[in-house]
């Protein structure tokens, strides 16, 4: 404290007050800055999650770039003298062999003449001559290069018209390999001079006579990158460096080189959502196979099977949860009187407390085997339910008046639960008897004989278990909305002579319908993002079908299984981040939509209430 300002207590009263006020004002301002700073940064950080996820994913879709660089040291010499051709093969072919490729596993030999004529010869059947004769070009142009891609599963041919074609060795019906034409790549402008395969993955570089260099990847017909320069025209040969980071153009004179940035060639929007013909596969397909064949480190990342799995699980879960949740909420909110009503709703909301890992465990250990054994009983139960409803609705009004008065006390629910229990027991007995009598003891075996494949952990199990997990959300929102319908409306309708059911049907239900929709949206969001139940109660095989009795693999389960093993910054790792982003967007949109509907509804109710 400096000399000039005396302590507070010695100041005259007026000044003291002024100083105090100033202090308080400063404190107020400080406090507001502090809160604004802290709160604002927390919210920014939360929104930053999405931004961070995006930054991890964008490198996947970055266009390939190539920069000419100065060659510092010459590339390692590469032995390109072809293996000697057996005399038997040469005579079988009957033409002057210009190109030859050896299939490494079984020893097939592909021989080609410079006019594109080709012959497939097998060392195990030398006397058979050519097993297959074909033309690798359309006979009017000359074949100029023929190369294996890395992994030796597919062949790329180039001709003097600039055509590039991909060929596979595929087994025919006798198990013998045949050369099959797969697809053309985008045509080059001039004759192909050389093709160089990448090391360890299925990309390749193409050099044409006009000095054009282009980079391709086996999955895609379009080039990833192309460039043209006069000095490239001198080159006769291309070669990749060890980690595919540099491409050398070799030939007479000084070699030139390109520095490439091409980390994730196998991923593009097309491979994620369309069928892709992978090397060694019989036809194009949607495949998710992250740790595929070890000899070829080519991940197969199609999001289609995972998306279908997620949708399938969510669909069956909603099929269980939506009717149960809405109907239970309707009954609780509209037909029960006060103490019982809030007690029951609280009880049902208790269901939300069960951690999903417990539900998943029960589904896998207890529900799945039980369903496998008593599937018929479940079907029977579903058949008996409408009968039960019919019987109750018809018979109850005929009961003596005294018995009809039981309701409202809570006993009615107990009674109904007991009735349901009896029905379930009957269904179990009946199902097992039917199974004994007509399906020789096991409905499941019978299904298998009919050609319906049945896996123990299937979509039905997931649907039931996850429906159970989603149910409390749908219930509680529907219940809230239905019990918040303004009272004047129901009372007014009652005063106009509407029966109780008419009020429910004509007043409460239409008013709360948007809320019910919001509840369904929220439930859907939850079902799409559910992880542990799907992980535990399905086989996690990436199957793309909607069969109720087969397993599935969801986006969430894939993340849980594969992320701990993915190498940081690899294509696989970034793909999983993309999966996370998709989940984020799906669920976020579902929730936001639901929220908007609910807010609007709340305003409406407030307007109606005043």
């Amino acid at each position: 404290m400096t000399q000039g300002t005396p302590p507070l207590s010695r100041l005259p009263a007026g000044k003291q007050r002024q100083r105090r006020t100033q202090q308080r004002r400063w404190l107020n301002r400080l406090w507001s800055w502090l809160i604004t700073l802290a709160g604002g940064s927390v919210i920014l950080a939360l929104l930053g999650i999405f931004v961070y996820l995006l930054t991890e994913v964008t490198p996947l879709f970055k266009p390939v770039s190539a920069q000419p660089i100065v060659v510092e040291h010459s590339p390692p010499a590469f032995d390109i003298t072809p293996a000697p051709i057996p005399a038997a093969a040469a005579t079988a072919a009957g033409f002057e062999v210009a190109f030859s490729l050896v299939e490494p596993l079984q020893g097939y030999l592909l021989l080609a003449a410079s006019n594109g004529e080709a012959c497939l010869w097998w060392q195990r059947q030398p006397e058979a001559g050519c097993l297959q004769r074909l033309s690798l070009t359309d006979r009017t142009v000359n074949l100029t290069t023929l190369r294996w891609l890395a992994g030796k599963q597919s062949i790329v041919s180039g001709d003097s018209s600039g055509q590039l074609k991909q060929w596979f060795f595929l087994p025919d019906e006798h198990g013998q390999l045949r050369i099959s034409w797969i697809k053309p790549f985008a045509r080059r402008n001039a004759a192909i001079v050389d093709i160089a395969p990448e090391q360890g993955r299925s990309g390749f570089a193409v050099l044409d006579a006009a000095g054009g260099v282009s980079l391709f990847y086996a999955n895609l017909t379009k080039p990833l990158w192309q460039g043209q320069a006069a000095e490239y025209q001198r080159a006769t040969r291309l070669q990749f460096s060890q980690r595919n980071e540099q491409l050398w153009l070799l030939g007479p004179g000084e070699p030139t080189a390109l520095q490439l940035d091409n980390r994730h060639p196998e991923i593009s929007w097309r491979t994620l959502f369309q069928k892709v013909w992978y090397e060694g596969w019989q036809q194009p397909e949607y495949v998710w196979q992250s740790s595929g064949g070890a000899e070829l480190r080519q991940g197969k990342y199609s999001l289609v099977p995972l998306t279908i799995g997620t949708l399938k699980a969510a669909f069956y879960a909603m099929l269980v949860a939506v009717p149960l949740g809405i109907l239970a909420a309707l009954y609780t909110a509209c037909f029960l009187s006060e103490p019982l009503r809030s007690r029951l709703s609280q009880l049902i909301e208790l269901l939300a407390l069960f951690p999903t890992v417990i539900i998943g465990f029960l589904a896998a250990i207890w529900l799945a085997p039980a369903l496998e054994q008593h599937l018929l009983a479940l079907l029977l139960f579903l058949l008996l339910l409408p009968l039960l409803v019919l019987a109750l609705a018809r018979l109850w009004p005929r009961l003596p008046k005294r018995w009809q008065q039981i309701p409202g006390s809570g006993w009615d629910l107990m009674l109904l639960a007991a009735l349901l229990f009896v029905t379930a027991y009957l269904a179990l007995l009946g199902g097992d008897t039917l199974q004994q009598q007509f399906f020789s003891g096991s409905f499941r075996f019978w299904l298998n004989e009919q050609g319906v494949s049945y896996q123990q952990r299937n979509a039905l199990v997931v649907g039931l278990a996850m429906g159970f997990a989603v149910l409390p959300i749908i219930f509680s929102i529907c219940y809230d909305v239905m019990s918040q319908v303004p009272r004047q409306l129901t009372l007014g309708a009652s005063a106009l002579g509407a029966t109780h059911w008419q009020i429910v049907r004509r007043v409460i239900w239409p008013l709360s319908l948007p809320g019910v929709l919001a509840a369904v949206m929220l439930g859907l969001g939850r079902a799409l993002g559910e992880t542990m139940i799907i992980l535990m109660a399905t086989g996690n095989a990436p199957i793309s079908n909607f069969n109720l009795f087969e397993g599935l693999r969801s986006l969430t389960a894939t993340l849980t299984i594969e992320l701990p093993e993915a190498a940081v910054d690899s294509s696989h790792y970034r793909m999983l981040f993309l999966v996370a982003i998709l989940l984020f967007i799906f669920t976020f949109m579902a929730n936001t939509l639901a929220d908007l509907v609910r807010q609007r509804l709340k305003r409406n109710f407030q307007r109606l209430d005043t």
């Binding site: 406090w31 919210i43 961070y52 936001t592 908007l596």
Partner: protein, 451 residues
């Protein structure tokens, strides 16, 4: 409103049945969890019986001792598929035989039709041995710290008393003695470390891991979430942008937890942890210290996951404060900060506490995101130490939820693991239930006080 049961209305009855069905499901689930979870430690009777492989030679029947774990009815095609000729339906029982010197599995199925001479001899002992696990047999002699045990196949084992962890003759126990044994078993389940690849022993590390990570999470999330909530409700101007921000923060609660796990692994572990390592522990590189999954990342991920819950609860608590309180404060000349600190926050405190408790109870049941950031199947050393930081923030932990997933589905010894998982699930449920009960009580107390 009272129900009109006299109506002949199908929809009404369908709705009534639906609520009854949900009620029934809840009861069934609770019953299943309680009976299976509590049943694990109840001393079952040890049964002795003879098994004849074929009916013609009953004298060759071998003797079996063990606990009946479950039974199953098989139908005709199942029997035919197994190549058996019993008349359907045939019943088989799963018997826990304990350690077999021959190397036979501890659990085995027997056909009811093959059993004969079923007894429950009172003198049969259940012995839990440090190496062999559980043994069933007749005590032959007890001398100077040794126990001679005769097994069902007639073999005699000499066991050191020091290796014997427990011994019990369940068939001769009274109900009260069984009760005491039951309580003791539960206590040891809760307070010891797991053995034999998580298929025996206790779950202390898992409980500690769950509690510690959740507590740390609460310490992180409470101030941050409350401040963000206060900002959103009190200080942010109510424009279009703020409404949008509020909407998206609320909806973050619905984003799948596994997405937060992905973020936790990518950002916390690799980016943040990697930078910490480079700044503070460069001498240990390339061995990572914080750049690998661990307790602190588990807690931070959980905090991120539950942040929206706390923010929403805080905002709701603030919104519930009657405006008269606020206006009264201003009327007396208080500044905004003073009104907030002296009037509003104390009144809203229970709501915030409720939010934090709900966040904790949600976090306690999470599994999927934690697999990425530091929860592992086996980490018996507690992340606690007696010196300076007291908590090993970089250590990997076990958690109850992950134990359920791992022991339940990935265990090699499924028969032994299954009942344990029910017990673990029960512990987790009780934990979550208690937390929620607390939250509910608080909310009720608070509502009464404010109104």
């Amino acid at each position: 409103m009272t129900p009109d049961y006299h109506q002949r209305n199908y929809w009404f009855w369908l709705a009534a049945l639906a609520s009854a069905f949900v009620l029934m499901l809840l009861l069934a689930l609770s019953y299943l969890m309680l009976s299976r979870g509590l049943g694990l430690f109840w001393p079952a009777d040890i049964v002795q019986f003879r098994v004849s492989q074929n009916a013609e030679s009953p004298h060759e029947a071998s003797l079996v001792l063990g606990e009946v774990v479950s039974q199953q009815q098989l139908t005709a095609p199942q029997l035919a598929a197994a190549g058996l000729t019993f008349s359907a339906p045939a019943t088989r029982i799963l018997v826990k035989q304990g350690y077999q010197p021959s190397g036979a599995p501890a659990f085995r199925w027997y056909w009811q039709q093959q059993l004969s001479d079923v007894q429950r001899p009172p003198e049969v002992l259940l012995v839990r041995h440090r190496q062999f696990g559980e043994l069933y047999g007749w005590p032959q002699a007890m001398s100077e710290g040794q126990l001679l045990l005769q097994l069902a196949n007639g073999q005699q084992l000499r066991l050191q008393q020091a290796d014997i962890m427990l011994q019990l003759a369940p068939n001769s126990l009274s109900w009260l003695q069984k009760m005491r044994w039951f309580a003791g078993q539960w206590w040891s389940f809760l307070s010891t470390e797991p053995r034999e690849a998580n298929s025996a022993g206790g779950i202390l590390p898992a409980i500690t891991g769950t509690l510690l990570s959740v507590l740390l999470m609460a310490v992180v999330v409470a101030p941050i979430g409350i401040m963000a909530g206060i900002y959103l409700h009190e200080y942010a101007r109510d424009g279009r942008l703020v409404r949008l921000v509020r909407l998206s923060v609320h909806n973050l609660a619905g984003v799948p937890s596994v997405v937060f796990g992905v973020f936790g692994l990518g950002f916390f572990v690799y980016v943040l942890g990697g930078s910490i390592d480079q700044l503070f522990y460069p001498e240990r590189l390339p061995q990572p210290t914080f750049g690998t999954p661990g307790l602190i990342w588990v807690s931070l991920t959980l905090a991120l996951l539950t942040l929206p819950v706390v923010i929403v609860a805080t905002e709701e608590g603030l919104a519930r404060i009657p405006s008269s309180l606020r206006l009264g404060g201003y009327a007396l000349g208080a500044t905004k900060a003073e009104v907030l600190r002296k009037l509003i926050l104390p009144a809203a405190r229970p709501a915030m506490l409720t939010g934090i408790i709900l966040a904790v109870s949600r976090a306690a049941g999470e599994v999927a995101p934690l697999i990425f950031v530091g929860v592992v199947k086996y980490a018996p050393v507690l992340p606690l130490s007696s010196s300076a930081p007291y908590i090993q923030l970089d250590q990997q932990i076990m958690s109850l939820g992950f134990q359920i997933y791992d022991v339940g589905l990935q265990s090699s010894n499924a028969d032994a693991a299954e009942p344990r998982v029910f017990a673990i699930a029960l512990v987790l449920l009780v934990l979550i239930g208690v937390l929620n009960l607390l939250a509910m009580r608080l909310r009720r107390y608070y509502r009464r006080r404010v109104v």
